[in-house]
């Protein structure tokens, strides 16, 4: 039923383990642990690759070459950055709310890592193919608001507080248009299961069927992951670094990791929901198409990010509530009418 290299690799691994250890529960547990480790490795690699990739791409757009001294062509720059962050002094400001302050970067990493379990990398290669996949994914990503607010409040600094307040307004405000934009896809597919959504795109990609939803999704994805032009939470020239202002060293590295993992997540989601997931011509296996499309999406988001100035809080919020939400609702209406007409014909 399922084809593809990765699926067959997974099945053969399961058979080897079953023959070594007879108990099926233990085999399941071991497979889950192995897959979870692989996903965490993918997440860590994404952070390592994007630290360098972002700097090189932003440099190319800015008519210069980026890091080019550490390693051949600058490839070991991320390693140098990690080493630098690891041996920084751990400054703990005075007057902070200790537990909230310490937990905030750790809790930020949890949703970013958790949603990797729901991504379909290839035919049948998902860690948790639950039948409410999309809904669970959106619910988990909206948990990122709380650690930002925690960091902002607990830091005992006015800049962090402003950043925390902006987070709540921005991220909660843009959840609604995103959910309504994705409603169109769910209506066409008829199911919330991630593998079913990719299956439904085997003939026509959803970008053709739902162009409005695609545009809305791009904008809300940039907002949800705090990328420019919507990075008012960490608006560097106004509130220095928003909720992250008082964090140094490895604590800041955790925020950084979460941010780049978020960038990869929105790339993967754009691919899965609108660009056909792992579907593609047969000369390359499914997961290769998946990664190619993801990287192209990420490059697009970085291109957009490095071109535009930052939006202002009030204009961003009024755009979200007064423009995006009505368009998303109209999209749902049009999709419903379209499905009815298609079924009648």
């Amino acid at each position: 039923m399922h084809s593809g290299i990765l699926y067959s690799l997974g099945q053969s691994l399961r058979e080897i383990l079953s023959s070594l250890i007879g108990v099926p529960i233990l085999v399941d547990l071991l497979m889950t642990i192995i897959c979870a480790t692989i996903l965490l490795l993918i997440m860590a690699t994404s952070a390592l690759v994007f630290t360098l990739g972002e700097r090189k791409i932003c440099a190319f757009i800015q008519v210069r070459i980026g890091p080019n001294r550490v390693g051949p062509g600058g490839l070991l720059q991320s390693v140098a950055d990690m080493l630098k962050l690891m041996d920084k002094e751990d400054i703990v400001p005075r007057g902070i709310d200790k537990w909230l302050w310490v937990l905030s970067p750790i809790l930020l990493l949890v949703p970013s890592a958790l949603i990797y379990a729901f991504f379909p990398f290839d035919d049948g290669v998902i860690l948790a193919d639950v039948n409410v996949g999309l809904f669970l994914l959106i619910a988990i990503t909206s948990q990122t608001v709380l650690p930002f607010l925690m960091g902002g409040y607990a830091s005992n600094s006015k800049y962090s507080l402003i950043g925390g307040m902006r987070t709540v307004a921005q991220m909660l405000g843009y959840e609604v248009p995103m959910v309504f934009a994705l409603m169109g896809i769910v209506m066409i597919t008829g199911s919330l299961k991630m593998s079913a959504i990719v299956e439904a795109q085997s003939d026509v990609w959803f970008i053709v069927l739902q162009p409005l939803a695609f545009l809305i999704y791009i904008i809300t994805a940039l907002v949800e992951s705090n990328r420019p032009p919507f990075n008012i939470v960490e608006g560097e020239s106004e509130i220095i670094a928003g909720p992250f202002t008082e964090y140094t060293g490895m604590r800041w590295a955790l925020f950084f990791l979460a941010e780049f993992s978020n960038l990869m997540c929105i790339g993967i989601l754009t691919t899965t929901l609108f660009l056909g997931g792992w579907h593609g011509p047969d000369f390359l296996p499914g997961f290769c198409w998946f990664w190619i499309k993801t990287f192209l999406c990420v490059l697009f988001y970085q291109w957009v990010g490095w071109t535009f100035p930052r939006a202002r809080v009030d204009s961003m919020l009024s755009f979200g509530w007064k423009v995006l939400l009505p368009i998303a609702l109209i999209n749902v209406l049009l999709t419903g009418v379209g499905i009815y007409v298609y079924n009648v014909m």
Partner: protein, 365 residues
């Protein structure tokens, strides 16, 4: 019943977007600004006092460091004030070279404005493009006088050395490149909807307010007052050139930005006319080796990039000035910060600092 209170946010001397070491104590109600108090003096170097114990020729390098981004204009102001006091007449070729250098420096300073404005607004790309183009002008200054920023090229009685053919050729190449450069900025920034939405109708300074504060330069021209010292006093060789003075209508951030873009085009026009009609002749008048101006005082003002830069020199007949006072445009323009920021959001405060274009070397002197 929810209770709110106002708080003071200190955008202190170390901040990514106060231009230099400026401290602004912003009183906020949520994200709305209720008051903004600038605190300056962090870069005070005592230039006016230092000038009292240096001879006139030795004072000129100090003026480079006032508004360090447009050094040629400062040199020009001081030298013309001394020439007024001592009655020295400058040869015509020197006047033309002075105009070319001053206008090139105006373009370079406006590039710093564009770069820091777009950087504060969030687009770091803008800063790199503006500074890349500024490098071309700094290379021109390197050719003519050997230094890029602190030029010390315009001297009492003329200019330090003659403009070589290489300089004139490269200046012509740069002037030919200016329309293409402005086109790129218009496509990337002026046409951008996010940029326009952030700049239009924010931080309005009305005509009456601008006149009350005594502002000058592009800031007051954005509010609609037609006041350009190059047209009024016609000092140096400016009377011989044909150029327009762009005016704004509303006095908001957008007007202040567009006027500076148009001024770049006008400066390029002036430089082209100067290059076409450059006369031959000496580049320095006959100035005595030991300059002793007669007793008295003189005030001369020039149109600096930021407004009216005035030098008031009191001489007591000796080789050193008795007192030099510098009327610095950024110092006066900064008063408008409170009015500009009231009722705006925090993000607009940052835009307001950028468009009023203060330079702390000039504010603190």
């Amino acid at each position: 019943m929810a209770q709110t209170e106002k708080y003071v946010l200190n955008m202190g001397p170390q901040h990514p977007s106060t231009h230099g070491v400026l401290q602004v104590q912003v009183e906020l109600d949520g994200e709305n600004i209720v008051g903004a108090k600038p605190v300056m003096g962090y870069l005070h170097r005592g230039i006016e006092k230092l000038m009292e114990s240096r001879t006139y020729v030795q004072c000129v390098p100090f003026t480079d460091r006032l508004d360090y981004v447009s050094a040629m204009n400062n040199n020009l102001g001081f030298c013309m004030a001394v020439e007024k006091l001592a009655g020295i007449e400058v040869p015509e070729r020197a006047e033309y070279i002075r105009v070319i250098c001053a206008e090139l420096n105006r373009i370079a300073s406006h590039h710093v404005f564009i770069g820091s404005l777009t950087n504060d607004l969030g687009s770091a790309t803008g800063m790199i493009y503006a500074f890349r183009d500024r490098e071309k002008i700094l290379d021109l200054f390197n050719i003519i006088c050997g230094a890029r920023m602190t030029a010390h090229y315009i001297r009492i009685g003329g200019v330090a050395a003659d403009a070589q053919d290489e300089f004139l050729r490269d200046t012509q190449k740069f002037i030919d490149y200016v329309p293409e450069m402005l086109d790129e900025y218009n496509k990337l920034f002026s046409g951008n909807e996010i940029f326009q939405a952030r700049m239009k109708k924010t931080s309005i300074i009305t005509k009456e307010m601008a006149l009350k504060f005594g502002m000058s330069g592009p800031n007051i021209r954005a509010s609609g007052v037609d006041y350009d010292i190059r047209k009024i006093d016609k000092y140096g060789a400016y009377g011989k050139f044909d150029f327009e003075v762009p005016l704004g209508k509303r006095g908001d951030n957008w007007d202040r930005y567009m006027i500076r873009m148009k001024e770049i085009a006008e400066s390029a026009k002036i430089i082209q006319q100067a290059l076409d009609n450059m006369p031959e002749g000496p580049y320095m008048a006959k100035v005595p080796k030991v300059l002793r101006p007669p007793k008295g005082d003189a005030y001369h003002r020039v149109e600096n990039t930021r407004g009216e830069l005035g030098f008031y020199i009191v001489s007591d007949g000796s080789t050193k000035p008795y007192r030099v006072h510098i009327r610095r445009p950024s110092f006066v323009n900064l008063q408008a910060l409170d009015t500009m920021c009231k009722g705006m959001l925090l993000a607009d405060a940052v835009t307001a600092f950028a468009t009023i274009d203060p330079l702390m070397g000039e504010v603190d002197c």
